[in-house]
């Protein structure tokens, strides 16, 4: 116990004396939490629209007006022919073209049907997909309106239609910040957990101080705990700062209990710190451990469901996310923050993370050698 105490005292003293660590600890979460949630917005706005109107009728004008007034599109180009419109896409002035054929109005009125042509610049896949979908939605809506104008008095709709009314549960205003902030917080805690601890041990290797520790009667377990606990505390401190920023700046108050978040974070950090320890037992230089932990956390973050929903990944990638502790924490954070889930609701995730913690730490302890062969 006295041994562990002196190890912790030494570690905390070193952290406290290192101005870089303190700066990184406080500035990193602030910058990330103040800039990222505002910038990383999934909603696509300001899509540049090009229109090729061969009809020049009342109906075609109404349609274009409706599209532009939706707020998602900006009318940037109005060409006479399709090749001209395509030029605008090629030069990057517009993102999609809506071509309205000649006799659009006549066909709708007479034949009850007409067709439109939409060409989308798919260089930016997300923008293309969402832009196309928005446009489709608006056109459908327009179609409905035109029809209701004609068949006003009818009591029963001749054509059965299904109208969809949606309500967004847990995040009624579809506020992306509410959605992003908890995720970014997880990313931060993960970075501190995995790379700080790993770097710290490798630094002892580089400085040669680990030799002095290795010839001493210190037990493996004591040494590893002496490294785990300080960084566990640091990461919880960063989490607290992050939660404060979320509350004070973004007004995000979790529906669930803060205690649920901390209980889960505690277990989560054991797993992530274990991963950091594991890396440090293999790496010989700080550069190696930096690069490897950078690589691992990047993969973890991209496959965590923070940026793209896990459900839309291919099956094999979904399988990988099962082995990614970050995805569990992001899920839990969102559940607790937005849905108000309690410990009972996240028991499956807790169990999974205990598994990770045992696995990583066990491997690290097995692989940490006080002497080499």
């Amino acid at each position: 116990m006295r041994m562990l105490k002196i190890l912790l005292w030494k570690e905390l003293l070193q952290i406290y004396r290192d101005p870089a660590i303190i700066r990184i600890l406080f500035i990193m979460p602030m910058i990330q939490l103040l800039i990222l949630p505002l910038a990383a917005d999934y909603e696509i706005k300001n899509i540049n629209l090009g229109v090729v109107d061969h009809d020049h009728s009342e109906y075609s004008r109404q349609l274009v007006n409706k599209i532009v007034s939706s707020g998602y599109f900006r009318l940037k180009d109005y060409s006479a022919t399709f090749p001209q419109g395509l030029k605008a896409i090629e030069s990057g002035r517009t993102d999609l073209i809506l071509e309205i054929p000649t006799h659009f109005e006549r066909d709708i009125v007479k034949d009850n049907r007409s067709s439109l042509f939409v060409a989308v610049d798919a260089v930016n896949g997300v923008k293309a997909g969402l832009g196309g979908a928005y446009l489709q939605g608006i056109i459908q809506n327009y179609n409905q309106e035109v029809r209701t104008q004609w068949i006003q008095a009818q009591r029963f709709d001749e054509q059965p239609t299904i109208e969809i009314a949606s309500a967004d549960w847990y995040n009624p205003h579809m506020n992306y910040r509410v959605f992003m902030v908890p995720g970014i917080l997880v990313m931060l805690v993960t970075m501190i957990g995995s790379s700080f601890a790993a770097n710290n041990i490798v630094r002892e290797k580089e400085m040669g101080t680990i030799e002095q520790i290795n010839v001493s009667p210190i037990k493996k377990m004591q040494f590893i705990l002496g490294k785990l606990i300080p960084f566990w505390l640091l990461a919880l401190l960063v989490l607290t700062i992050g939660l404060l920023i979320a509350r004070l700046v973004y007004g995000i108050v979790p529906l669930g209990h803060y205690s649920t978040i901390y209980v889960f974070a505690t277990i989560y950090l054991l797993a992530i710190l274990g991963l950091g320890l594991l890396l440090s037992t293999y790496a010989q230089t700080q550069q190696q451990s930096m690069l490897v932990s950078f690589f691992v956390t990047m993969i973890f973050n991209l496959l965590s469901g923070l940026y793209t929903p896990i459900e839309s990944m291919p099956a094999w990638a979904q399988l990988i996310t099962r082995f990614n502790p970050v995805s569990y924490f992001i899920e839990v954070m969102r559940m607790v923050m937005l849905k108000g889930s309690g410990l009972a609701d996240i028991r499956y995730q807790i169990l999974a993370l205990i598994g990770f913690a045992v696995f990583f730490n066990g491997w690290a302890i097995l692989n940490y050698r006080k002497r080499s062969g």
Binding site: R2, M3, I6, L7, K10, L13, Q14, R17, D18, M207, G208, T209, E211, Q212, I213, N214, V215, S216, P217, I218, K370, R371, S372, G373
Partner: protein
Amino acid sequence: MKTVTIEHIVKTYPAEHGTVEALKGISFEIDQGEVFGLIGPDGAGKTSLFRILTTLLLANSGNATVNGFDVVKDYKSIRNCIGYMPGKFSLYQDLSVQENLEFFATIFNTSIRQNYGLIKEIYEQIEPFKTRKAGQLSGGMKQKLALCCALIHKPTVLFLDEPTTGVDAVSRREFWEMLHRLKVQGITILVSTPYMDEASLCDRVALIQKGGLLSVNTPKGIISEFKKTLWSVSADDMFGFMKAIKKDPGVESCYPFGQVHHVVFKTEENSEAWLQQIAVQNNYNKAAIKVIEPNIEDCFMALMQD
């Protein structure tokens, strides 16, 4: 009982092509209370041997014991009773002098007060700087602090890996004086050094070269093994003179040593006249030739050639 025994220790490291043999099956013993010097150039295998004896490295084959404990089986007992000062300064640079000492005392299950008597003399020299961070100390101070940290748990065997490398001449002498005071306290000291002149300060030395032992003896014993006559020569053109001597078929070796050259002949007869003749033949002036006592370095050079 011997404090340290080393039997046929072999250590190889993987290299680009095959393996490199750092230690080629060496054996020797160290008595209790001895100051034992391990002397050899860089790359001789000194650090590998130290790391094996301090239980940090596993040998490929052979046995070694420290205080009667096997370095493989009883490594835990060894870690309680040895002090190790690695060649590279490896204390916490961002902790102060006092904090380092306190830390190392505690991890060896002791306290500064308990063994203060042992380090008192050394620690008093660095005490004025006790709040200074270890990284900001001068080279000599760092050595003293490292020695304090290695001694704080009152080890019975002290392993010092090149403690005087990179330290000025005055600090080196002071350091050796400290070692001799520790010896009085009954601590066995194994010290390695690349400086031949430090050999005479040890009770016994082992000369090591390319992983093999050249000789294990007292410094006097090693010098007495040098059977041939050693000549010290000098002239106005030192370099030319050495080349001329080396060309002579009767000369066994000739190497520069400070301001003179040391020469050994294959046979003993007429050596002085012979050297004079070489000087005259090649028109070197002010030739000074005399017989001198060999020192450890001469012995090392001679042993290396065998």
